[in-house]
């Protein structure tokens, strides 16, 4: 039996507003509510609502044989709650079909695992709670921000009890191995790994509407043909992509929804493939062996490393400054500080500071509120300066309270 595993990432950051130096010490509202709600509305209208409709119809039409999986960041869920509860409702409706699996991730769509295991675990727990609350599921498969995986991260995730984790399957990661099998972590053998088939995934996510591409125009017929061309013993094709592919990155006029609507029929009638969710794959498929990734690997850019978020001086100084506050934030007991802390960790803030513009610039510009990475950095650091002041004030207050209690 051969399987297609669809996984969609749903994320919207809480983008920062223009935060001037003179706001520091006076303005603790960092996020651009107007632009965030506007962007969310736009993406919901173009993608989330129509795509959810298509998926729901497909699930009903195929009587439970069509399955997909999602991970929705805490930042996105909160924006649904705040700005468009109807989007959340439509995801809940998908959840109720029993054909949609929700994966665990970090609440703030953060890079916390690179700095603090404690913060990472706290965010995953908070996210799980949200998933339980809205979708009535407890995730058993983990997906880290931007598919960032390493042996070490695998160990931590395995230690938290997850059965499987998603990771990138690009050539420079796997060498001669095919991503089209289930694997296990080399350092935590109980943790199954599902690796993204980057070619077939990106054919849909990036190349679908590219007239220069030899595969253009991509039809469900053609795509299933490619699936059928895969070696007979390959058992699992992981199609991982941003959910915004449908209707936002690829506009409705490109025919992306028609492609999605037609795909299951083509698969069922013209191939030996079925649809499977990550947890089912981890449970039912046999591992083809161990995969080791000593250094962090992501699904971003040509490099498939962390260089979209970290590595230049701006990113590293900002990231270091942020996490230097962790202990103090943990000592604070203030709900707003804790919430700001979560959403200041969102990886997008560091993505906007990326200076390797040339090859990957287009993706980096997507809903990027800044003209240059330098603007992004200066704005972020002004916010962090204010946040630092609040955290320190709050720390002093709690210290005083403790002293008072001690008497």
């Amino acid at each position: 039996m051969k399987n297609i595993c669809f996984y969609f990432q749903v994320h919207q950051p809480f983008r920062l507003k223009r935060y001037h130096f003179f706001n520091i010490g006076k303005d603790s509202n960092y996020f651009d509510d107007d632009s965030n709600s506007e962007i969310l509305r736009k993406v919901a209208h173009n993608c989330y609502l129509p795509a959810n409709r298509v998926l729901l119809d497909l699930i009903h039409k195929h009587g439970g044989k069509f399955k997909v999986s999602f991970s929705i960041s805490g930042a996105a869920i909160e924006q649904f709650e705040l700005y468009m509860p109807e989007v959340l409702e439509s995801f809940k409706e998908l959840a109720r079909t029993g054909c949609v699996e929700f994966l665990a991730e970090t609440y703030g769509h953060s890079l916390a695992i690179l700095k603090s295991e404690e913060e990472f675990k706290a965010q995953v727990a908070a996210h799980t709670q949200k998933v339980q609350q809205h979708f009535g599921q407890t995730p058993t498969v983990f997906r880290n921000t931007e598919l960032i995986y390493s042996d070490h991260i695998g160990n931590v995730v395995a230690g938290m009890g997850y059965k499987a984790m998603l990771a990138e399957g690009a050539d420079n990661v796997l060498d001669w191995k095919s991503p089209n099998y289930l694997y296990t972590s080399a350092t935590s053998p109980d943790l199954k790994l599902l690796l993204k088939n980057f070619r077939l995934s990106d054919d849909i996510a990036f190349r679908f509407s590219n007239h220069e591409w030899s595969g253009f125009p991509l039809t469900a017929d053609k795509f299933v043909g490619w699936l059928n061309d895969l070696p007979a013993d390959e058992q699992l094709v992981n199609l991982f992509m941003d959910y915004e592919t449908f209707g936002e990155h690829q506009w409705v006029t490109t025919g992306i929804f028609d492609f999605l609507k037609a795909l299951p029929d083509m698969v069922f009638y013209h191939s030996a493939f079925e649809f499977i969710t990550p947890a089912e794959a981890a449970k039912t498929l046999t591992s083809a062996g161990a995969v080791s990734m000593p250094n962090p690997v992501s699904w971003a850019d040509e490099e498939r490393d962390l260089s979209a978020w970290l590595g230049n001086d701006l990113q590293d100084d900002a990231f270091g400054t942020l996490y230097s506050l962790e202990a103090k934030v943990k000592a604070c007991d203030d709900e707003k500080i804790k919430r700001d802390w979560l959403f200041l960790q969102t990886s997008d803030h560091f993505y906007y500071m990326c200076t390797k513009f040339f090859a990957d610039g287009d993706v980096h510009k997507y809903f990027n509120p800044y003209y240059t990475p330098y603007d992004a950095f200066m704005n972020y650091m002004n916010v962090i300066a204010d946040f630092t002041l609040r955290v320190e004030q709050q720390c002093d207050k709690s210290k005083l309270k403790d002293q008072a209690l001690a008497f």
Binding site: L314, D317, A318, T321, T372, F377, M378, N382, L389
Partner: protein, 428 residues
Amino acid sequence: MKVLMFGWEFPPNISGGLGTACYGLTKGLAENDVDIIFVMPKAYGDEDASNFRLVSADGMPVHTHTATYRTLFEKMMYWEVNSFIIPYLSPEEFLLYSEEQLANTSKTVNTASTRYHFTGKYGKDLLTEVWNYARVAAEIVANNTFDVIHVHDWLSFPAGIIAKEISGKPLVAHLHATEFDRSGGNKVNEQIYEIEREGLHHADKIIAVSELTRQIVINNYGMAPEKVFTIYNAVDDTSVNEAVKPERIFKEKIISYVGRITYQKGPDYFVEAAGKVLKEDKNFRFIMAGSGDMLHQVVRRAAQLRISSHFHFAGFLKGGEVGKLFAMSDAYVMPSVSEPFGISPLEALRAGVPVIISKQSGVREILTRAISVDFFDVDAMADAIHAVATYKSLANMVVRDSRIEMQNLKWISQAAKVKELYQDLVKN
């Protein structure tokens, strides 16, 4: 005594110190009973013209030039290249301007006369505007009587040359900044240098805003020393302006920099000094206000030094924000590589902020009691920052003594010196 003066900008529509100085000078000259016709490319109508007659060159009908004028223009034509220069604006500011500027610079041709339109800014067609300004100057000369012509910086030098050629009146060239200051001696724009040299050559007397600038005029432009006079700028108001100290937002000492973030202003030395201070003592914060083509480099360097949590970028300050920044500052640093004068330390002092200025600034000749360092000596700069912000007695002394020195610099007395130059010229 009647002076025909050509400027380029005037408060409140200014991008730098040139307009501020022109305002102070015209006010001071009026107080010395000098009549002034002040010409600028484009007046906006919100200028305080109570001390002089303001003439806007924008849209003024220019009648067909006589043959004499035409030869004159032809002679000057060889400079006239429509090149892409931005003498005062940083590239990023320039970007904001350029599109608009392009659309605005146009020439309307009537049958009887020509009208030139000016932006009076520093956009793409700056050189064209400079030349058209000279064309309009010819018309203004024909319609006015005056004893002396006075021009400010290279932008109005061609206008001054034309005015002198036509009227035969003596020309005073006033230098607020030279191409050597703006470029730091690195990439001198030869066209601008040529215009400057030509203007200085035609001038009967030259005013430099500092001895530093006077030496540049003598050494780099080959002018006879006896023709060049140092007359310092003054400040409109030397009164103490200590706003109520705002509640301290940061517990650390605040060291500020206000100015364009360009080579001339030495921002890179400021960030290096900040790095040295913070390495020893985290109890400091550095605020850099302004924008310019070196901003990204400085941001990157601060991040590389891992001091961004204590090094803030405030952007280009508007309205009262400079005052707000001074009010929270423990020291002000002007690390300029080459600063003909430098008015910002005086503003800082008025606000009660002790200043550290580079030895390569004209203002240092007046503020002999301020702490001065070589712009490149970042160790000394770091020491000075640390000391001034830490030792209250030192800070108080710098402010007190410098303020006394400032008191002696009044526009009425500086303008009197300018008037003396006029009188000498008219006499001869």
